[in-house]
């Protein structure tokens, strides 16, 4: 057996690789609610905080805890709590506090706007390994253009200050849109000022539920995406490296990530899916048992047809982030090419292979 790496990120990747060999569902995501107090146009999941029909579908705290115990008994060690906005749930700590006693490595995703001093204090009693807060701008004007809620910027900053005060570990990230891309550097500076990590995501998809999405009014053009990622040293290095290697991807394989191999998601109404961006196969662990649901998920992932021929034979394939979830959200199928991603892949190939004096 090879020695384990000592760098934390590499160690986690190696542990996940070993977990995949034995089909261990080591990484879970509990989407505690699909409701959010913000109204971001680009969100792939958002429902209003006051959406009573959504609220009625949400699992109870007791049901989440039952799922957590069942999942842990089957090998779950990493657990992400996300939404929607998790702190909309008045019973959040009825779920969270027992989880902190289970030996799980916990992460929370939040927009931070509902984190009060009292919530930060309670988190500090048994903090998650990481809290990730999404920042939508560096000024109130931009932040609130994205979130659609007056006063939300100040509330987010107050939430961040409360976490700092109580020494709750957290990092910042942003969802980059046309409206806030001009403040990316300023957001990075905010993170530096607070002494925390910062990351950005700019690959925005349509809605998971197939309802009307406004993401095309928000997301960057393919050219803007490639220009932006080329300014990020780590991303650029990865793509330059990929320009020189034969694709390691199995061309007939559709899922090339950990979804359904070591990872699963349970949505707010208790359906298990491979990732947050897919609403299939929606197996129900509370009804059929966690083990049977996990096996059903693996069958779904293993039985998904390969990508369409267009994708399998495409010469930009190694630059393309298409996956079944992207296909589902953008085309309604699990296999079809996604034009937005085709454009990004083509521009990446031109950019990175051009940098290296290769084709085109």
């Amino acid at each position: 057996m090879t020695a384990l790496p000592t760098d934390y990120s590499s160690l986690i990747r190696e542990l996940q690789r070993r977990a995949a060999l034995i089909h261990q569902p080591v990484s879970g995501v509990f989407e505690l609610t699909e409701r959010c107090n913000l109204s971001c146009q680009m969100c792939y999941v958002r429902h209003s905080a006051r959406d009573l029909a959504q609220r009625a579908k949400e699992l109870s705290a007791a049901e989440w805890l039952r799922l957590a115990h069942d999942a842990a008994d089957n090998g779950m060690v990493f657990l992400l709590l996300t939404g929607g906005e998790v702190f909309l749930r008045p019973d959040f700590f009825e779920i969270y506090t027992p989880l902190t006693r289970m030996g799980l490595i916990l992460t929370i995703f939040t927009n931070g706007t509902l984190i009060t001093d009292r919530i930060a204090q309670r988190l500090a009693e048994a903090p998650p390994s990481l809290t990730e807060i999404t920042l939508y701008g560096a000024t109130a004007a931009t932040y609130e253009t994205v979130t659609g809620l007056v006063g939300s910027y100040a509330r987010c900053c107050a939430g961040i200050e409360a976490l700092l005060k109580h020494r709750v570990p957290f990092g910042l990230k942003t969802t980059i849109t046309r409206h806030n891309v001009g403040e990316l550097e300023a957001m990075q500076q905010m993170a530096r000022n607070w002494g925390v990590s910062f990351a950005g995501a700019w690959m925005l998809s349509k809605r998971r539920d197939g309802n009307h999405s406004e993401v095309e009014d928000c997301r960057l053009s393919a050219q803007e995406c490639v220009n932006l990622e080329a300014t990020d040293r780590i991303s650029a290095d990865e793509w330059v490296e990929s320009a020189f290697r034969d694709s390691s991807l199995n061309k007939d394989s559709n899922f090339n990530c950990q979804a359904g191999k070591t990872a699963f998601v349970i949505n707010s109404s208790g359906e298990m899916n491979p990732c947050l961006s897919l609403s299939q196969p929606a197996v129900r662990p509370l009804e059929i048992g966690f083990r049977a649901a996990w096996e059903g998920l693996q069958r779904f992932v293993g039985g998904t047809p390969p990508p369409e021929t267009t994708c399998r034979t495409c010469d930009t394939r190694s630059y393309c982030p298409r996956c079944p979830a992207w296909s589902a959200m953008e085309t309604g199928t699990l296999t079809e090419a996604v034009p937005y991603l085709c454009d990004i892949a083509r521009l990446r190939k031109e950019h990175y292979e051009g940098m290296q004096g290769l084709a085109p």
Binding site: L4, Y8, L11, L15, Q16, R17, R18, A19, A20, L21, I22, Q24, V26, G75, V77, T100, R101, M102, G103, L104, I105, A124, E125, A126, P127, P128, S129, R167, V168, P169
Partner: protein, 80 residues
């Protein structure tokens, strides 16, 4: 103690999450000692068990056991 892909891990809980800031991977000896620590035992008892299980001499086993105990004491991983 958790198991991921056949590897044994210690995961900090409660307020220790901030101070430990990571996970602890146990080798076979450390896992054996950790399991034995479910009950109160002396260092010599632990060393004797390790020596027998891994077919090593008592003196070397005792050094390994003491090293592990010092490390987890530093991390405050055990309640007295």
């Amino acid at each position: 103690m958790q198991n991921v892909g056949g590897e044994s891990l210690l995961v900090p809980i409660g307020a220790r999450v901030v101070d430990v800031n990571g996970i602890i991977v146990l080798n076979d000896t450390a896992r054996c000692v950790w399991e034995l620590l479910a009950q109160e035992r002396s260092v010599d008892e632990l060393a004797a068990a390790v020596a027998e299980k891994f077919d090593v001499d008592f003196a070397n086993a005792r050094v390994d056991v003491q090293t592990f105990l010092d490390e987890i004491a530093h991390l405050q991983a055990l309640k007295s």
